[in-house]
């Protein structure tokens, strides 16, 4: 709870700091410092369960995921240097809105009441709509914002309709109340199941799972790079954390009623994500589709929540977030928002910037799920969890599609190591964020217990 307030206050501060010429230059520094402090506080009050009665339950799960989100956001703020120079006046606003997004995210991972879930999702989404359109001078940015807004609001409608049905059936919004109701009612009414499915649809949209994924590639491509990296990492992790928290908290007992809806979504997501990524030539769009594909693997953890798969989900989230944040950091370091960046323009990176090439390779290997990188164990864990629950067919599909995935990741690696078209002067420095992300991918790959002992 304190964390939530602190983050919001930090956001307001940066809003007002953005008003004055002098403070505007230091906004980013202030925020990074503040976020680090808040992260420290979160880890310090790790086991202190803080309640905001009936609304937020800041338990271990929430604390862990909050820490993850805060760390990612800190890295993104580090990365966002010079990203908003295109209009100085609104710098503070952009930073502030990003912080409000983080606040919404924290709400989403610590809610204990559907009201807070809804508010969190909306705080997150509405801020993101704005951020997606933050390049007012680019048509593609406004197009991204527009599509995201229209589809997002549409999906919110479904989510709310579902919540209303659940409320109608159970008469309460609190997660624990709902699970009690599920326990004590022998014959659940049909509107309850309708509500579960509608809520699931709303959340599937938020995690960009097929067939509700349509917004993702366009929005990712259209938005400014820094915002895209934010969506692909922090927001995605948050959405999954919320998804898992809600379904394991409230609907775990009736999972045989919704699991095959989820299985359909997972199958579509895996196929569409991986195969479409295969046909991409732009790096950003490739990453967008790989994000969709990864959503499929993370959903396996949600599918297997009957025996606690939160470990697997956490590990996968971290490994995915690290890899994809690193990839975006590389993208940001080599391209700008104006034009789309083709994979073929990576050629010769191994000559021009060997260090970054190596780190990028590590990151891509982790994404492709080659041991001993983190990605492999993430896939291994979610798959073994799903198999243990007896979902063999879908796990098999996941394995096969992951082999498809290896192709496009290696396409990128091959581009990095193939000979450059033009002679380039070598400079051997990599962005600190790339370094950190590659490091994480390696370390937690070599020693997963670092993560797995958190719970």
């Amino acid at each position: 709870m304190n964390i939530l307030i602190l983050v919001s206050v930090l956001g307001v501060i940066s809003l007002f700091a953005g008003l004055s010429e002098s403070l505007r230059q230091h906004t980013r520094t202030i925020i990074v410092a503040g976020l680090i402090a808040i992260t420290g506080l979160t880890m310090f009050t790790w086991n202190a369960k803080q309640f905001f009665p009936e609304m937020l339950n800041f338990d271990k799960y929430a604390a862990v995921f909050t820490t993850v989100i805060l760390v990612i956001s800190t890295l993104i703020f580090v990365l966002s240097k010079d990203q908003f120079n295109h209009d100085e006046i609104h710098k503070g606003d952009y930073y502030g809105i990003m912080l409000f997004t983080v606040a919404g995210a924290i709400m989403m991972v610590s809610f204990s009441n559907l009201t807070m879930l809804f508010l969190g999702i909306e705080t997150l989404s509405v801020s993101l709509y704005t951020l997606a359109g933050s390049r007012k001078d680019l048509l593609k940015s406004s197009e991204a914002a527009f599509k995201y807004f229209l589809l997002g609001a549409f999906a919110t409608g479904f989510l709310l309709f579902g919540i209303a049905f659940i409320y109608g059936a159970t008469g309460t919004f609190s997660v624990s109340g709902i699970s009690d109701y599920v326990h004590n009612t022998p014959q659940l009414p049909a509107i309850f199941y309708g509500g579960v499915i509608l809520i699931m649809i709303g959340l599937l949209f938020k995690v960009s799972a097929a067939p509700f994924h349509f917004w993702a590639p366009d929005v990712y491509e259209g938005s400014p790079n820094i915002i895209t990296s934010f969506m692909a990492t922090a927001v995605k992790v948050t959405a999954f954390a919320a998804f898992y928290r809600l379904f394991s908290g409230a609907f775990v007992d009736v999972n045989e009623k919704w699991d095959n809806a989820l299985i359909i979504a997972i199958a579509l997501t895996l196929l569409i994500g991986n195969f479409t990524a295969l046909a991409q030539t732009g790096l950003k769009r490739l990453l967008a589709y790989s994000g969709i594909a990864n959503a499929g693997y993370m959903l396996l953890a949600v599918l297997a929540l009957k025996n606690d798969a939160s470990n697997a989900l956490l590990y996968y989230s971290i490994s995915y977030a690290a890899a994809s944040l690193g990839a975006f950091a590389v993208l940001i370091s080599v391209s700008d928002d104006e034009k789309t960046f083709e994979i073929s323009s990576l050629k010769g990176m191994s000559k021009s910037n060997p260090l970054q090439a190596v780190l990028f390779t590590i990151i891509m290997l982790s994404m492709a799920g080659i041991p001993p990188m983190a990605g492999f164990f993430g896939k291994y864990m979610v798959l073994s969890a799903a198999i243990k629950e007896g979902y063999l067919a879908i796990s098999l599909l996941a394995i096969l599609t992951s082999l498809v995935g290896i192709y496009y990741y290696f396409k990128v690696i091959a581009a990095v190591y193939s000979a450059p078209d033009t002679e380039v002067q070598t400079e051997n420095k990599a962005n600190i964020v790339v370094f950190i992300c590659a490091g994480i991918s390696l370390v937690i790959g070599a020693y997963p217990d670092l993560i797995l002992n958190l719970f």
Binding site: N260, F275, A279, S384, A385, S418, P448, L452
Partner: protein
């Protein structure tokens, strides 16, 4: 700190040093670091070996650190020290060290010297993980790692595109195998609930026979890819694109034996799946024969050796198929010795001929390269199975076991070994005897290789000659060293198959036959290529088939690729992907065309997106409609 932990650590350190700072260090220092790290590892292996023997040959599990703990799954990065892994470790580090030593001289003029040694060390590291791991996940990690390293090393001279393609081909064929492996692992996990060797191999009782067969078959598919068996063997000859030490280390001595190691390691499972065993034996026989026939008409010195490697591996797989695991391991060892020797010899020849690989342009190198010539001859004698060289004992042990189970397979196997003797001596005579057929400046440039290259040759030659002593046949009175060694362990003792009844006479007869065949075909080769001085000309008749490698690549092309190529977009797309190899094209182009079609639904048209979402909602609601009111 247990010494065993140092074994994989040292090559890793070597890799890190060479990889990170190699550019700064001088070539001699890089070579020194590279080979000493392996040598130190070798010493550690010997120490571990000694401790093991003195410790009463008790299986030890050395745990590095806890790796994964999810629910009731817990995997430790821990190593199993037993007879089998010790033999493999000794082989990897020992031969590995010699080849590193050799590379110092061989790669001396290469500008990416440090990269080469870094990769080589990394390979040894992963190979050690593979053979030391005490659970299938560690094994799989090593498995993937060596595959990746071989990909890097085959494509080491990445300037030339067809080398890159060879690398890709190898990588893809291995992935196809790995798919089988992964599926096998998951099936195994869901069946046994564990991936530890102990957890799986000691609880083999009371499981569904079909499942076991499926698991073993899947594992064997993995082995097919890695050990270049039919139909996935075409990558190995292309892999000769890599530097010769690489071919010697990875594609003759160590990596390609990983599949055999896998099967021997999980023999407890394979014993329960007779169908798989027969399958293995048949595949091995087919591979052995086909590869041997192809090798007869190759003119590239390295290609000959590559195909002979494939066929020797085939022989070993026959032996495994009939359950003669220890004999298979025995031949694996001796084969590692003499094939590494032959490759290094070939490398020294190529070195002397300044890059020439076609044996039709060689000849008469006897005088120019005395040491190489002598060692190479010994290697040929060993592989041809002429007594008393090592190959003779191992091969005949295998043949005896095969005959004991199935005479037909024995016929195939001995035919293969006859062919082996023939093509080896064909190559030998074409290379070393008669007079030189190369260009003038080549002749002028001929020289014996430096000592860093000849010393490994000599050492390996000694091993190739006396390696047979590891396993003298039983009737000699001296008991079979390897089998005895395996016998000291409870769960490995079943590796050795003993003949029922009095088999010695039969064995002797078989030996005589095999020896006669080997010597006969060698003499035949001598007659053709030494006395008549005939040169291999354009292959005619059946030889066309052999020379065309049974047109396997073309067949893959016809059946699989052509249909896929019909789409022009596809063509263009996988050109972008730079995958030219048929096997890849099948998968890649089909997938890419699928992708090209699927991506069409992403019409950037918001109205359509909304329609898609609503359709999805209806789909999911309908899918659940039936279930709600169940």
């Amino acid at each position: 700190m247990n010494v065993a932990l140092l074994i994989p650590l040292l090559p890793l350190i070597g890799f890190l040093i060479n990889g990170l700072f190699g550019k700064k260090l001088s070539k001699s220092l890089v070579g020194l670091i590279g080979s000493t790290s392996i040598f130190a590892a070798f010493i550690c292996v010997l120490i571990t070996f000694a401790n093991f023997i003195s410790g009463g040959s008790e299986v030890q599990i050395v745990k590095a650190f806890d790796w994964i703990n999810v629910g009731d799954t817990n995997l430790a990065m821990s190593f199993q020290i037993d007879q089998l892994s010790l033999i493999m470790m000794t082989l990897v580090t020992g031969v590995g060290f010699l080849i590193h030593l050799y590379s110092i001289g061989y790669m001396h003029d290469d500008e990416n010297y440090n990269r080469f040694f870094a990769y080589l060390n990394l390979f040894v590291f992963f190979m050690l993980l593979l053979v030391m791991g005490d659970n299938y996940v560690v094994l799989f990690t090593g498995w993937e790692g060596v595959g990746f390293c071989s990909y890097l090393l085959i494509g080491f001279w990445y300037k030339t595109p067809e080398y890159n393609n060879a690398a890709k081909k190898a990588f893809v064929m291995n992935r196809i195998g790995d798919l089988g492996f992964i599926l096998g692992l998951f099936l195994m996990y869901s069946e046994f609930g564990s991936l530890d060797f102990t957890g799986v191999l000691s609880n083999t009782l009371g499981h569904d026979k079909g499942t076991i067969t499926a698991i073993t078959a899947l594992l064997f598919i993995g082995a097919m890819g890695k050990s270049a068996q039919l139909p996935l063997f075409t990558w190995l000859p292309d892999a000769m694109a890599g530097p010769t030490p690489v071919s010697a280390l990875i594609h003759a001595a160590t990596m390609v034996t990983a599949g055999i190691y896998l099967i021997v390691r999980s023999h407890a499972l394979f014993d329960l799946a007779p169908d798989t065993m027969n399958f293995i034996a048949i595949i091995g026989a087919a591979t052995a024969l086909i590869a041997a026939t192809i090798a007869m008409v190759q003119n590239d010195i390295k290609k000959v050796l590559a195909y002979s490697t494939v066929s020797q591996l085939g022989l070993i797989f026959i032996a495994l198929g009939v359950g003669a695991y220890s004999s298979g391991m025995f031949h694996l060892l001796t084969h590692a010795f003499f094939k590494a020797l032959l490759f290094l010899g070939a490398g020294s020849v190529i070195h002397a001929m300044s890059g020439e690989q076609d044996i039709r342009n060689m000849g008469g190198l006897k005088k120019a390269l005395p040491i190489t010539h002598l060692t190479f001859l010994l290697g040929c004698l060993a592989i041809a199975g002429i007594p008393p060289f090592s190959g003779f004992f191992s091969k005949d042990e295998m043949l005896a076991h095969i005959f004991n189970v199935n005479p037909v397979l024995w016929g195939v196997a001995s035919l293969t070994s006859a062919l082996t003797a023939f093509y080896m001596f064909r190559m030998y005579f074409l290379t070393f005897s008669n007079d030189f057929r190369g260009t003038h400046e080549q002749k002028h440039h001929l020289h014996e290789s430096p000592s860093t290259m000849t010393i490994p040759l000599i050492v390996l030659a000694i091993l190739a000659v006396f390696g047979g002593l590891l396993g003298l046949p039983e009737f000699t009175g001296i008991h079979h060293g390897l089998s005895y060694f395996f016998g000291t362990s409870n769960d490995l003792s079943s590796l050795t198959r003993s003949f029922e009844g009095d088999f010695h006479t039969t064995e002797l007869i078989l030996m005589a036959v095999a020896t006669a065949v080997a010597i006969g075909s060698s003499l035949y080769a001598k007659k053709i290529y030494f006395e008549n001085k005939t040169l291999p000309d354009e292959p005619k008749g059946i030889n066309k088939l052999f020379a065309g490698k049974y047109f396997l690549d073309e067949i893959y092309n016809k059946i699989i690729v052509k249909p896929a190529l019909l789409k022009g977009t596809v063509m263009q797309n996988f050109m972008e992907n730079k995958v030219i190899d048929p096997a890849v094209n099948m998968f890649a182009s089909l997938s890419v065309s699928a992708g090209n079609n699927i991506k069409k639904i992403q019409t950037g048209n918001t109205g359509f997106y909304i329609f898609g979402i609503v359709a999805g909602v209806l789909l999911i609601l309908f899918a659940n409609y039936l279930i709600w009111f169940r």
